[in-house]
C-alpha cells in the first residue's frame, strides 16, 4: 500500500471543473502551496472552495492565485476578509464574481468534522441571535436555544502535513495542524502535501494524528520562501 505520487501535478490531474474542494491552512500556516500551484497550472474552474481563510496574507502562494485566475466561483469560509487590506477574494466579491457563505469558525470546523464522522447534522449554540443564525432551524434543549447545522463534505481535500509514511499516516507541525486533520476526514479523495516522506514503521503509532485510512495520495512539496516575517 504505497500512496506516494511523483508530483503535485499528478496528484491533482483528475480534479474536474465544478469540484468542491477543501483547502487546509489558517492564515499563513499549514497551506498546501504546491498543490494550489498545481491546481493553478491545471486551470480547473468553477471550484467551490471550503477554507477557513481564502488567502491574502501570502498572496503569491495562497488561494489568491486561484481567485486572480477566476478559478473559484464559491467560497465557504470563516475569515474571508482582513482589516485594512482588500484580498483577491474580496476584489472578486465586490464585483459579485464569487459567492460567499461566511460561517462562525467553530461551526465551520464542526461541520467538516461531522462530514468526516458520518454525522449529517448537529445542533450548536453558536450564532443564536446573531446574523449567522438567520434562516436557520432552531431548537430548544434543556431551556437553551440551538441552531441546526449541516455537515460539509468535499470531492477533494488538499491538505498540508509535516511528515507522511507511505501508507498515508500523517503528523503535523505546531499550529500548521489547524484544519488539515478534519478536512482529511471529510473528502472523497484526500491529497496530502508533506515536507518529508518516511518509510512505513518510522512514525510512532501513538503520535499519528491522521491515520492513513483518510489519505488517498501523498506528494512531497517544495520548500517555499514565502517571505513570512
Amino acid at each position: 500500500m504505497d500512496k506516494v505520487l511523483v508530483s503535485p501535478q499528478e496528484a491533482v490531474k483528475d480534479i474536474q471543473d465544478g469540484s468542491t474542494i477543501m483547502f487546509g491552512g489558517f492564515g499563513v500556516a499549514g497551506i498546501p502551496f504546491a498543490l494550489i500551484k498545481a491546481l493553478y497550472e491545471k486551470g480547473t474552474k468553477g471550484i467551490t472552495a471550503i477554507t477557513n481563510s481564502p488567502g491574502g496574507r501570502l498572496e503569491d502562494f495562497d488561494l489568491s492565485i486561484l481567485f486572480r485566475k477566476r478559478q473559484i466561483s464559491k467560497v465557504i469560509a470563516s475569515y474571508p476578509v482582513y482589516a485594512g487590506k482588500i484580498n483577491a477574494f474580496e476584489e472578486l466579491y465586490q464585483k459579485s464574481e464569487v459567492e460567499l457563505e461566511v460561517v462562525p469558525q467553530g461551526t465551520f470546523a464542526e461541520r467538516i468534522r461531522a462530514g468526516g464522522a458520518g454525522i449529517p447534522g448537529f445542533y450548536t449554540p453558536t450564532g443564536v441571535g446573531a446574523v449567522a443564525g438567520e434562516g436557520k432551524e432552531k431548537r430548544i434543549f434543556d431551556d437553551r436555544e440551538y441552531l441546526l447545522e449541516r455537515a460539509l463534505r468535499a470531492d477533494f481535500a488538499l491538505i498540508k502535513a509535516y511528515k507522511a509514511d507511505r501508507m498515508g499516516n500523517l503528523i503535523y507541525r505546531m499550529t500548521a495542524r489547524n484544519f488539515n486533520p478534519v478536512m482529511a476526514t471529510a473528502a472523497a479523495v484526500t491529497i496530502a502535501e508533506v515536507d518529508e516522506i518516511v518509510e512505513v514503521g518510522e512514525l510512532d503509532p501513538e503520535s499519528v494524528v491522521t491515520p492513513g485510512i483518510y489519505v488517498s495520495r501523498i506528494v512531497k512539496g517544495e520548500k517555499y520562501d514565502v517571505g513570512f516575517k
Binding site: A29, S53, V81, V103, G106, A109, P125, A130, Y172, T175
Partner: protein, 219 residues
C-alpha cells in the same frame, strides 16, 4: 485626551486575569495582552488555530511560520503546551472550558451586545472565532479604543453593525476607562490617568453609572 496607549490597554486587560484560568485572545489588540502575562500569573493561553500554552509574541530571530496565533503573528511556546486541530480548539470553547476571552469590537451596546465582525459599510466580514467565543466563554472582556479614529462612538445604546452576540460582554477596557456591564447598565469602575468621568461620558452614548469606588487605573 488620548488616554492609554495600545500597550497599556493590553496591560490593564491582563490585570483582569487570574491564576489557573484558560484564556483566549482575539485578533488585533487583544493579542498584545500575551506580552503582559508573566509565568507567575499561572494563566494558560488558548488559540483557536490549535494551541494551548503559548507565550509572548516572538521576536525577529525566533519566528517560525508553523507557530502563529489566529492573527498569523509568530508565537513563542511555554513548557506544558499542547497542539490540536481546529475542531478540538472549538470543542473546548463551546463546552465552556475557556474561562475568559479578550476580544476587539466595532461596537458594544448598553446591555452588552457585541458587534465585532462586520465593519460599517463593508460588503463582507470575517466572523472567525468570535461568535463561538462569546457563546461559550464564561467571561468576555472587550479591549478597544473608546472611539473610532474619526471620533465616532463605539459604546452605544444599540449596535448598528451586525451582532456577534447579544448580552455577552462583561467588561470593557478602553484607552479611557474600565466599564462593567451590569443588569442596571454600564458601570464606570476606573478612569485612565488624567481622564475624568465626565470625559468618558462625553464619548459614551449610554448614560454611565458611577461605581462607589470609582478610581484611577493602577498600571
Amino acid at each position: 485626551m488620548s488616554g492609554l496607549s495600545r500597550e497599556l490597554i493590553a496591560l490593564r486587560a491582563a490585570r483582569e486575569l487570574q491564576s489557573g484560568q484558560y484564556v483566549n485572545l482575539g485578533i488585533g489588540l487583544p493579542t498584545l495582552v500575551s506580552n503582559f502575562i508573566t509565568d507567575e500569573m499561572g494563566v494558560v493561553l488558548h488559540s483557536e488555530n490549535g494551541a494551548l500554552g503559548f507565550g509572548r509574541i516572538a521576536d525577529e530571530g525566533e519566528m517560525d511560520i508553523d507557530l502563529v496565533n489566529a492573527s498569523s503573528q509568530p508565537l513563542t511556546l511555554k513548557p506544558g503546551a499542547a497542539f490540536f486541530d481546529s475542531a478540538t480548539a472549538f470543542a473546548m470553547i463551546r463546552s465552556g472550558r475557556i474561562d475568559v476571552t479578550v476580544l476587539g469590537a466595532y461596537q458594544v451596546s448598553e446591555n452588552g451586545d457585541l458587534a465585532n465582525w462586520m465593519a460599517p459599510g463593508r460588503k463582507a466580514g470575517s466572523i472567525g472565532g468570535s461568535m463561538d467565543l462569546v457563546s461559550g466563554t464564561r467571561r468576555v472582556i472587550v479591549v478597544m479604543e473608546h472611539t473610532t479614529r474619526f471620533g465616532e462612538l463605539k459604546i452605544v445604546t444599540r449596535c448598528t453593525c451586525p451582532l456577534t452576540g447579544y448580552g455577552v460582554v462583561n467588561t470593557i477596557v478602553t484607552n479611557l476607562a474600565v466599564i462593567e456591564v451590569t443588569p442596571e447598565g454600564l458601570l464606570l469602575r476606573e478612569v485612565a490617568p488624567s481622564v475624568t468621568a465626565e470625559d468618558v461620558q462625553a464619548v459614551t452614548e449610554p448614560r454611565l453609572l458611577l461605581a462607589d469606588d470609582l478610581r484611577e487605573m493602577q498600571l
